[in-house]
């Protein structure tokens, strides 16, 4: 991965008010920054929300993203550094006819398992580091997944 296009995860703590997410995303759109994934949820027992954005760009672009985010009035804090614990979740739907014990074994190797079984299909859930999630999705390809839904990265400071 070149320095010019480094992947980064930015945590943004914002006031939990209407249109705050629009302010954050339209900033990215207007200034031509990239969003690879985005998650948002309220912080318990507070009037704040936690937004996690996975993005990429050169160090100067990263610095600008951080500063521009900070400039938004409802933004309380922007955390952007390497010392983050990152996790991502993925749900994968397989046909019931596939080898379920193989799928279950694969899922358990990635901290997950089968979470739902229907008449036509099974659903597996895995939560792990983002790069491991990519590997898991590659590994599932031989079992003809019908649908893959990734949850986006969440991160917390170490």
């Amino acid at each position: 991965m070149s320095l010019e296009n480094e992947r980064r995860v930015i945590s943004v703590i914002v006031m939990n008010e209407s249109s705050v997410l629009a302010r954050v995303t339209s900033l990215f759109a207007a200034r031509g920054y990239n969003i690879s994934s985005l998650t948002v949820a309220p912080i318990p027992n507070s009037d704040m929300s936690h937004i996690t954005i996975e993005t990429q760009g050169s160090p100067r672009v990263m610095e600008q993203i951080t500063k521009q985010l900070h400039k938004l009035i409802p933004v309380y804090k922007v955390i952007e550094h390497e010392e983050m614990v990152e996790k991502e979740m993925v749900l994968v739907k397989f046909p019931i006819a596939e080898n379920l014990s193989d799928i279950a074994a694969l899922c358990s190797a990635y901290n997950g398992g089968i979470v739902n079984v229907g008449t036509e299909m099974v659903i597996a859930m895995v939560a792990d580091e983002p790069c491991r999630i990519r590997h898991f999705i590659e590994a599932t390809e031989r079992y003809n997944p019908i649908e893959v839904v990734r949850g986006g990265v969440v991160a917390i400071e170490r």
């Binding site: 006031m15 209407s18 249109s19 339209s26 100067r60 610095e63 009035i73 309380y76």
Partner: protein
């Protein structure tokens, strides 16, 4: 006290000390206008277009430093105001715009005159609010004014649904604002300021690069004190004209695309740039890799996002220029000003080599002559506004600005049609000043309906139209870069400007000679009535020097030497 939302809006405007509101009524804002009718805490000026209302509030703010206030209705009223918001946003002008919105129950239903005002204005306001309950209205109004004037100033929009202006509730206007997510930094980091002072003392070719932030921070006396103490040469950006004052021997001039030779060469050769409230705009820097190539950079700005946005900065200082200079100047008590003598000498020679000049003529009126003549006749007594184009650059190059807030123009967005309404706002704010809008035959038509406003409210703005029957700046680029294909820039078909002014209740002058110009200007100042002064200027005059877009600052197109030799002024 119990009152309607509409009354709350008026009470807040009065509490903030605003004397004049510019606006245009309509369906969704009618309840507020009904309250405006009943009160006498502030004056309302009815412009003839919402864009002009916002520009007028902007001109009012630029002339005084106070928050300008404009009011418009929903839908098209608001969309017309967007250019005004964007203009103020790009130049960091403190302003509050209040817009009506359809009732809460209709929002999202594509109601009549409904538009997503906060969505549209998000990229061109410092912040915006859609009021959702009457209870939050007083707090939002208070925060809007606070946000507009603090930190890096900017326009704030408050969008108020009609039913909220009707509802009755308790009004207590907050005395304090507490936004936990908004704490601007005013005081510069002491350690960084000390390092910057050391760098200044060690440098041999320092250069002060002053931007619009010095105007917004009202720091001009401190900037002048810094220059006096250190004897460091200064360049000003378009937005900073007047900070140093014309005639200051250390002021080289304006830099950038139409900067003078000495300023641009100074920036190309300096070893230390001291940037005060400037943002390294592309019209200033030219080719970035060649900009101040041999220099370390001290960058003082209240907005951290401006620092190191385009160039690498060696001494970043986040803070208000006034406060930073108050800390920096005492550290430079022992600076050895002789150190920079050789540098000053080099720059003096550069200025002698290619001074800011033009070739005057006896046969036709040169636009630069008009600007200098206005300077001679009214000088520091005047506030000069401008539209956008050649006339703007000639004004910036040739007018002898003595103080900040004397020069009002749309620098960042470059909005044609800005000058006339902004001049009305400035005249309302400063009735004792002569307010002159230097404009072109293209720009003036973009808000000419304001003749009616100016005539009605007796705001005697003098519009000097430098008429070359061209969209001159575009024509200049076509001459230089498009092999003289004058695509859609020929404005030979024109209104009768004299009659147009007269038809709207103003005065018109047709000027074709220098004598006529002097007579017209004197008459206009005496008559105290809005006017159009239609000045026929030489058609193909270019703004020079010029750095072609994207070129290095030191590669300037200069006025032809041979022409200069014939009759250099």
């Amino acid at each position: 006290m119990q009152m309607s939302g509409a009354q709350m809006v008026c009470e807040a405007i009065i509490a903030e000390g605003t004397k004049t509101v510019f606006g245009y009524p309509g369906g969704a804002i009618m309840h507020v206008y009904d309250e405006i009718y009943k009160q006498n805490g502030f004056e309302h000026i009815l412009t003839r277009h919402e864009q002009a209302a916002v520009h007028a509030a902007d001109g009012y703010a630029r002339a005084t430093g106070e928050v300008g206030v404009a009011m418009v209705t929903s839908g098209p009223g608001f969309t017309n105001a967007v250019t005004g918001l964007a203009t103020a946003y790009m130049d960091s002008i403190p302003m509050v715009v209040i817009s009506g919105q359809v009732p809460l129950s209709l929002i999202g239903t594509d109601g009549f005159q409904e538009i997503d005002a906060v969505g549209i204005s998000r990229p061109c306001t410092k912040h915006n609010f859609l009021v959702r309950t009457l209870e939050e209205l007083p707090r939002i109004l208070k925060e809007a004014f606070y946000l507009a004037r603090t930190g890096r100033p900017g326009p704030v929009l408050v969008d108020i649904p009609k039913d909220i202006t009707v509802d009755i509730g308790e009004f207590v206007y907050p005395t304090e604002v507490n936004i936990p997510t908004y704490k601007p930094t005013y005081k510069g980091n002491r350690r960084q300021i000390e390092k910057a002072a050391e760098a200044i003392k060690k440098s041999k070719k320092p250069l002060l690069y002053v931007g619009g932030g010095a105007v917004l921070s009202d720091a001009y006396l401190l900037v002048r004190e810094l220059v006096e103490k250190t004897q460091i040469p200064v360049v000003e950006t378009l937005m900073a004209r007047g900070v140093m004052g014309a005639g200051n021997p250390l002021l080289l001039g304006m830099l950038g695309m139409h900067g003078n030779y000495a300023s641009n060469m100074a920036m190309s050769e300096t070893d230390l740039v001291i940037s005060l409230g400037a943002r390294f705009d592309d019209r200033v820097t030219g080719k970035l890799s060649e900009f101040a190539k041999y220099a370390d950079i001290i960058h003082v700005d209240i907005d951290p996002a401006n620092i190191a946005k385009l160039v690498d900065v060696d001494y970043p200082i986040v803070g208000d220029i006034t406060q930073v200079l108050e800390d920096l100047i005492p550290l430079l008590e022992d600076v050895n000003t002789d150190r920079y003598q050789a540098w000053r000498e080099i720059l003096r020679r550069y200025d002698e080599l290619h001074p800011q000049s033009f070739v005057d003529s006896d046969k036709e009126i040169k636009p630069q002559w008009v600007i200098e003549r206005i300077g001679e006749l009214v000088g520091e007594q005047a506030i000069i506004t401008s539209d956008v184009g050649q006339h703007q650059m000639w004004a910036a190059q040739h007018y002898p600005f003595d103080r900040p807030r004397q020069w009002i123009n749309s620098g960042g967005l470059g909005t044609m049609g800005f000058g006339f309404p902004a001049a009305i706002g400035a005249k309302v704010a400063c009735p004792e000043k002569t307010v002159i809008n230097i404009t072109g035959d293209g720009s003036i038509l973009m808000n000419m309906q304001e003749l009616v406003t100016a005539a009605e409210y007796k705001t005697p703005v003098i519009n000097v139209i430098l008429n070359n029957q061209f969209l001159g700046m575009v024509r200049q680029w076509q001459s230089f870069f498009y092999e003289k294909r004058f695509s859609e820039t020929d404005l030979t078909f024109q209104p009768n400007f004299k009659k147009l002014a007269e038809a709207c209740g103003g005065i018109g002058y047709d000027v074709t000679t220098k004598e006529e110009f002097d007579a017209a200007l004197k008459d206009a100042i005496e008559k105290d009535q809005v006017c159009f002064m239609n000045v026929a200027i030489s058609r193909f005059e270019n703004v020079l020097p010029m750095v072609p877009a994207g070129g290095a600052l030191f590669n300037m197109m200069l006025p032809q030497k041979s022409e200069n030799d014939k009759g250099e002024k």
